[in-house]
């Protein structure tokens, strides 16, 4: 009798190499499946068990996961773009044009980076609205809402710093206007403006500072807070689902809705 794909996969999971890497061996018992999550460095931030109801599309619209998806696309496309881009005044614009018209697949990578950036900003806002209108920010999830607000700010700063890098007229004047808004901060506004640009005007120093912020400081900060954000979901009792919190089913309508859902 021929083996099925599942059986081949089970054989693979039984091998010594596989078990040395993943520890949890064959078998699909609840324990083995829980261990598979718990013993994976990427998945161990999450709960080992999740209610099916919480994974339904209507519970979250998958907005948080989609946001992470766009972030991963941005990292994956941003790193290759760095190989052709020099953050210097004479070269930045020419490099951007080269990426668009000369480098193989450059236009694809650059456009993917740009559209994902737009999508990420949109998805972050959509995610926040969904969380807000479902009341998923309430106790015990207040702290994760705060982390979410920090991640929103980091997303906007990533978008803003990336905007300067093509070094065209649009970029130059957008950053001139944006950095002058920072000058409006009482007392220290002008100093913030000076430190942000590394000078009095949008110039070589500003381009380099925005490049380092865009490619190093902000993405690393984002990853740090994303890790806390995900870990907090587990600590706060998993993904939010209506009626999952103790004491939320109060009205008759809620009880009826829950009974219907249970059927």
């Amino acid at each position: 009798m021929a083996k099925t794909v599942d059986q081949y996969f089970d054989d693979l999971r039984g091998t010594r190499v596989w078990r040395s890497i993943f520890r949890s061996g064959t078998g699909s018992s609840t324990l083995k499946r829980a261990l598979a999550i718990q013993q994976n460095v990427f998945l161990h931030l999450f709960s080992t068990k999740v209610r099916v109801r919480m994974l339904s599309f209507s519970a979250t619209w998958y907005l948080g996961t989609l946001t992470l998806g766009t972030f991963l696309i941005l990292v994956a496309t941003g790193i290759p773009l760095m190989l052709y881009y020099h953050p210097s005044v004479p070269q930045a614009y020419a490099d951007t044009k080269d990426l668009q018209f000369v480098v193989s697949s450059g236009m694809f990578l650059r456009n993917l980076h740009r559209w994902s950036a737009h999508a990420m900003v949109f998805l972050v806002f959509a995610h926040m609205f969904k969380v807000f209108y479902r009341g998923a920010y309430r106790t015990p999830r207040e702290f994760n809402w705060v982390i979410g607000v920090i991640l929103l700010l980091i997303t906007l700063l990533l978008s803003y710093t990336g905007y300067l890098l093509p070094w065209d007229q649009l970029a130059y004047w957008a950053i001139t206007v944006g950095s002058n808004i920072a000058s409006a901060v009482p007392l220290v506004g002008d100093k913030i403006h000076f430190l942000l640009l590394g000078g009095n005007a949008v110039n070589a120093n500003a381009l380099l500072r925005f490049y380092v912020l865009h490619c190093m400081i902000l993405p690393l900060t984002a990853m740090f807070f994303v890790a806390i954000h995900f870990w907090r979901i587990r600590k706060d009792g998993g993904l939010y689902s209506h009626g999952s919190e103790p004491g939320t089913m109060k009205t008759k309508t809620d009880v009826v809705a829950a009974a219907k859902e249970a059927q």
């Binding site: 004047w173 001139t176 206007v177 950095s179 002058n180 430190l195």
Partner: protein
Amino acid sequence: MADEKTNAASEPLNDLNRRDFFMKLGLGSLGVAAVGTAAFSYQYLDPNVLYEPSPVINVGKPDRYPLDSVTLDVNNGIYIIHSQEGYFSLSAVCTHLGCLTAWKPELNMIACPCHGSKFEQSGKKIEGPAPRPLPWKRIWLNDDGDLLVDRSTDVLPLARDSFVRV
């Protein structure tokens, strides 16, 4: 007697045992190091030398600018205006958010393309959102007869000394 004195003297020392002492010493050292790091980081991020263009620029001979003309120097962000009273220079950078303004001869005013601020030829504000009028810049003739403008020095608008007469 002697024992009592020793006890009395060691009393305050008992408030701070060896572990507390080292704990405070350690935390104190870390605090000093943190403040020092913050100070050095701030200094590091604050450039000491800037390779920016000089604020003083040569805008050429006065006869380049005909009477009753407004000339925008795009690269340097200033206007050279030859009026009946003489030559004067005006910043072309909008006082709102730093966009470069433009002279509109058909409307006889200076307008900002970004957010619609409007100014008179003398820099006086006609319409916001700009909070202040366009500042006047110091202008003078050098020994070669060229007009020089110092973009870092504001002068009093419409004052006698703020004009150059040739």
